[in-house]
Symmetry: C2
Subunit: 342 residues, 2 copies
């Protein structure tokens, strides 16, 4: 039998706050009988949105503050100790919740999570990891923006954490791990990447070598490690290209009465296509390397997307991600070989 | 009346060598009566492929060596003085050709072009620039891989060169210039990007500020400057996502007999869509910052794609790109303000 678990939701985070988080919670609870949810935020507002919805396995934890989407992480950390974001993370720290999910300000979420939960031994920096759709299913990519300047050791740690996440959550025994690089010979990559390549080649990860930008989406690879600047640009580029292509395709179908008719005929295909590449199905980025589970939802997430982020949190609870990463990272990073090289 | 010009083609470069370059040249000459072409490479091979095609405005310059696609740039530069790539660049240096086009090894092409042609005054490093399709037409992006580690001044120079290229070739008086960055607050970018932002804000370029990865494809922007690592990943990512989406869409249409029928109905739309996002229409990257015009074609380019690279070279000859960039870069980079900051 599936074990029960409790997930804390930052009800005030994101562009839509409780208007999206509360209905998502209600839907999620209805579909998942072994989950309890704590809605953290302004009780009267949450209460009003809940209305007559079932409150079974649902609690509200009232808070008086909110972290703004553009607030400086340092300010949020110092001045907002009763924010919905902070209290949701505190609940994980105190063991009241197995994980928390927030659609709030990424910088503040990372800074607060790091301060409250602390990083695992051997992990220098936590990283943000998400899955992106690819021709072979999907690829997990990290870091996505938490660390703009990374050393070879950081990149190596990201690779270990990503591999462990995929192994635990997807049940792949030895995930194929790649290192993001550029294609040209000789000028192949910067110093950090070349050194990380050395570390990875000597590790017992299933390291397949360098991957170029297109490889994330077309190659059969499970984990791609890169620094937060490049990872963020790669992720956002993929969103931009997908939007551009959707826009162009829609424009073509609307051009004339004939193309409008063909669009009608092609509707089921286009719908099924949209479902396959629906970014909402990929909503939910994991903050890895912490002593607790924190999942970041896209700020603009709708209910379907936010539910997916809750689902990721639940999967990570069942897979016991922080403990597994702690053990594996310890094994990899505690090894003589790594320490000597690093 | 349009003035005549001469373009040298590295006939041996690329995955397909003369099999693609020679027919492209023949087609290009037929369609463009004011252009002369010099095919540089193995004369007997070129001659055999030319067969009975018209040789009007076409010359062959025989060479005895070839630069391999995976050859080290330093080796190509030292040891291959009679390679088709080197001689095509020499022809530009000697004024026999107004530009050269090569589908060969990017690293070798950049190293050889830099050695033979030299960089313009005030330009520390040449950069590779190409247009990518966007919701508003297209966006020029640079650098795409020539410079993996860039200072703020390098990024600034890329922005000036890109702006001047777009202004001259597209006739846009004050191109909108952006600097590629990541979205999160506080952790917004690395030091180089922040400093380049300062330099650009004080310049008289039409600088619109930071652009995120998706902005390249959805925002109304003419030039995006970034370092060669990030630019290369961004470009390849866009190619990968486009390939993935094409693959998924095609898969959906082939699913059942009904979807196959709808695909038939939607065929004209899909064709017109493919034309709009056809990467071949964007083939041809400019090596900017040199005292001569060098255009790099994709190694795997077919005839249509290679013709587009020749077209870009012709446009740059008519726009007198190196001289214009030289003047503008001098104006921008010779300014007191820039020198003081830098």
């Amino acid at each position: 039998m599936k074990q029960g678990c409790t997930i804390a939701l930052d009800a005030m985070g994101g562009d839509h706050g409780p208007e999206v988080v509360v209905p998502s919670a209600v839907r999620y609870l209805a579909a998942n009988p072994y989950v309890d949810i704590i809605l953290v935020g302004d009780e009267p507002r949450i209460d009003a949105i809940l209305g007559k919805a079932s409150r079974e396995r649902l609690r509200i934890r009232h808070t008086t503050q909110e972290v703004a989407m553009d607030e400086l992480p340092s300010k949020a950390l110092r001045g907002k100790k009763d924010s919905s974001m902070r209290v949701a993370i505190d609940l994980v720290k105190e063991g009241e919740a197995g994980a928390c999910v927030s659609a709030g300000n990424t910088g503040a979420l990372m800074a607060t999570a790091r301060f409250v939960l602390k990083t695992l031994p051997y992990v220098d920096r936590p990283a943000i990891c998400t899955a992106v759709p690819s021709m072979h299913g999907h690829t997990h990519m990290l870091d996505l923006g938490a660390n703009v300047d990374c050393s070879a050791e950081h990149l190596f740690q990201f690779a270990v954490m990503g591999s462990e996440l995929v192994s635990a959550v997807e049940g792949i025994e030895r995930p194929r791990v790649g290192l993001l690089n550029i294609g040209q010979e000789e000028i192949k990559g910067n110093e950090q990447v070349k050194q990380a390549h050395e570390l990875l080649s000597k590790s017992n990860l299933n390291y397949v070598g360098y991957v170029e930008g297109d490889g994330i989406f077309v190659e059969d690879i499970d984990v791609v490690a890169t620094d937060g600047f490049v990872g963020n640009v790669a992720l956002k580029c993929s969103e931009g290209v997908a939007k551009f292509i959707r826009h162009t395709l829609t424009g073509q179908f609307k051009r004339t009465w004939y193309t409008r008719l063909s669009a009608l005929a092609a509707l089921p295909i286009l719908k099924s296509f949209r479902r396959t590449v629906d970014p909402r199905r990929y909503n939910g980025a994991s903050l890895l390397g912490l002593r607790g589970i924190v999942v970041k939802s896209h700020g603009g997430a709708d209910e379907v997307a936010f539910e997916n982020a809750i689902y990721i949190a639940e999967k990570e609870i069942h897979a016991n991600i922080p403990q597994r990463i702690g053990e594996q990272v310890g094994q990899h990073l505690g090894r003589e070989q790594y320490r000597e090289t690093a």
